[in-house]
């Protein structure tokens, strides 16, 4: 099965325990691929059939995710051809992610050094996100 799907540029996976609706997980994964450069403008997203044949998902969920991506202006559905990437998501330029990731890794190392275990770190991050308010929400 993996070889059959390797021709696709992105490969989705779903977590049933995250609490995030399945369509939103797909949206986030496409955005992530765009940010990391795995997908670029002009690339074709896998068809609904290809997606559900890989991860056992209701076809409507995939359609909903693709529609959401269209609404966000990231992709464009062309009748009978497929869904194509239009643009990278707005936000900081490429490289920002990586830079922030490096400093976060340093912070995690520090937290572990201070004696926090991973669940404690996760709780800390989550509460920080909550306390920072809802301004970050939606700004993907």
């Amino acid at each position: 099965m993996s070889s059959e799907l390797s021709k696709n540029l992105v490969s989705f996976r779903l977590s049933s325990t995250s609490g995030v609706p399945a369509y939103l997980q797909l949206v986030q994964q496409v955005e992530q691929a765009l940010r990391m450069g795995a997908l670029g403008p002009g690339d074709r997203l896998p068809t609904v059939k290809e997606v559900v044949a890989e991860i056992a998902l209701n076809p409507n969920t995939v359609l909903k995710a693709y529609r959401e991506l269209e609404v966000r202006g990231l992709v464009e559905g062309k009748q009978g051809v497929g869904t194509f990437v239009l643009a990278r998501p707005s936000g900081p330029p490429p490289g920002t992610q990586e830079r922030l990731s490096r400093s976060l890794q340093a912070w995690v190392r520090k937290a572990r050094h201070e004696g926090l275990d991973d669940p404690a770190i996760e709780a800390l991050v989550r509460s920080a996100l909550t306390r920072a308010g809802s301004s970050a929400e939606g700004a993907a």
Binding site: M1, E4, L14, S16, A22, T47, V48, K49, E50, V52, A53, E54, I55, A56, L57, N58, P59, N60, T61, V62, L63
Partner: protein, 312 residues
């Protein structure tokens, strides 16, 4: 392209007061249900709730003792037209043990006027199912894939599957549901699959029919279900309080707190109540319990079919 059920289109499967008795006991009683066209619906219910009986009657494999059922407007009959429009996969996934996969595809091709050989071969090839070995030597997951490929290659309008994943290991289950979802994608195929565990089929279904005590307790899209149910957490009170202002599906009480699963709560809630999103599984379990208790709780069976257009 949209597979969403539209309120104005006729349902793919419609049962009215459908019942079946075996000897003196009812296998299914007074079952009225509508399965929307083009959706993948989960038929849920505990063991013995009549899921198999319902599917068999819809498929024309068993005759109804009471009521009626229509599939795409047609009553089940021994006619080529009806048989061609309905696919049915029995729970034990019957196959000829000594025949190989190629021979099964051949018999399917010869016994059906509509037959999509390419799709069946493509999917089974992709899954590396050997075509030249007797199916008795294949794994349970491979046999299930063969049985599904046969049912799908027939290109029915309505596909009925009886507990298709109950006997499969998690990997085979995921692969089976992936094949099913791929078969339904973009084809307008209506799927009704039964399961006693929502968890098994939750991802691929966009509609839920819940049978309990051989009656329909719930019939709605998963989205509508989640959006119109909430969990309320608040101080323990007497039965007066807010329980009256909306339908309580299930109430659990501790010494100080009440946890209520409610339907469509209005905005007028006291500040002492916290509102949470309800999990689909929690909703289904609540209605399943309701059926077992003989409907002791205020909320009656729920049908949200007419709201599906709005939910999309």
């Amino acid at each position: 392209m949209s597979r969403a059920a539209q309120p104005e289109t006729a349902p793919a499967v419609e049962a009215v007061g459908l019942g079946k008795h075996y000897g003196h006991s009812w296998g299914l009683q007074d079952c009225s249900v509508q399965v929307p066209k083009g959706a993948i619906s989960a038929l849920l219910g505990p063991n013995g709730s009549g899921k198999t009986t319902l599917l068999r009657m819809v498929a024309g494999f068993a005759t109804a003792s009471a009521g009626s059922v229509r599939v795409l407007g047609r009553a089940p009959a021994q006619s080529e037209e009806f048989l061609a429009s309905v696919g049915y996969l029995a729970q034990e996934m019957p196959l000829y043990r000594r025949l190989n996969v190629a021979e099964h595809l051949e018999l399917g091709r010869r016994l059906n006027r509509r037959w999509d050989d390419g799709a069946a071969r493509g999917r089974l090839t992709a899954l590396r199912v050997p075509f030249d070995r007797p199916v008795a030597t294949l794994s349970g997951g491979q046999r299930a894939q063969v049985a599904l490929a046969l049912a799908v290659a027939k290109t029915p309008d309505v596909l009925l599957l009886d507990e298709p994943v109950a006997a499969l290991d998690p990997l085979a289950r995921a692969e089976f549901l992936a094949s099913l979802a791929a078969a339904a994608a973009g084809t307008g195929l209506t799927v009704l699959l039964s399961s006693h565990l929502l968890r098994d089929v939750e991802q691929v279904c966009d509609h839920v029919v819940l049978l309990a005590s051989s009656r329909v307790q719930l019939c709605a899209t998963t989205e509508a279900l989640v959006s119109c149910h909430k969990v309320l957490l608040g101080p323990r009170r007497g039965p007066s309080g807010c329980e009256r202002s909306f339908d309580v599906v299930r109430a659990t009480h501790t010494e100080r707190q009440s946890r209520l699963l409610v339907r469509s709560p209005g905005p007028a809630l006291g500040p002492s109540w916290e509102v949470f999103e309800a999990d689909l599984e929690e909703i289904v379990l609540a209605y399943m319990g309701q059926g077992r208790d003989g409907g002791a709780i205020a909320a009656g069976p729920l049908s949200l079919l007419s709201t599906t257009g709005g939910a999309r």
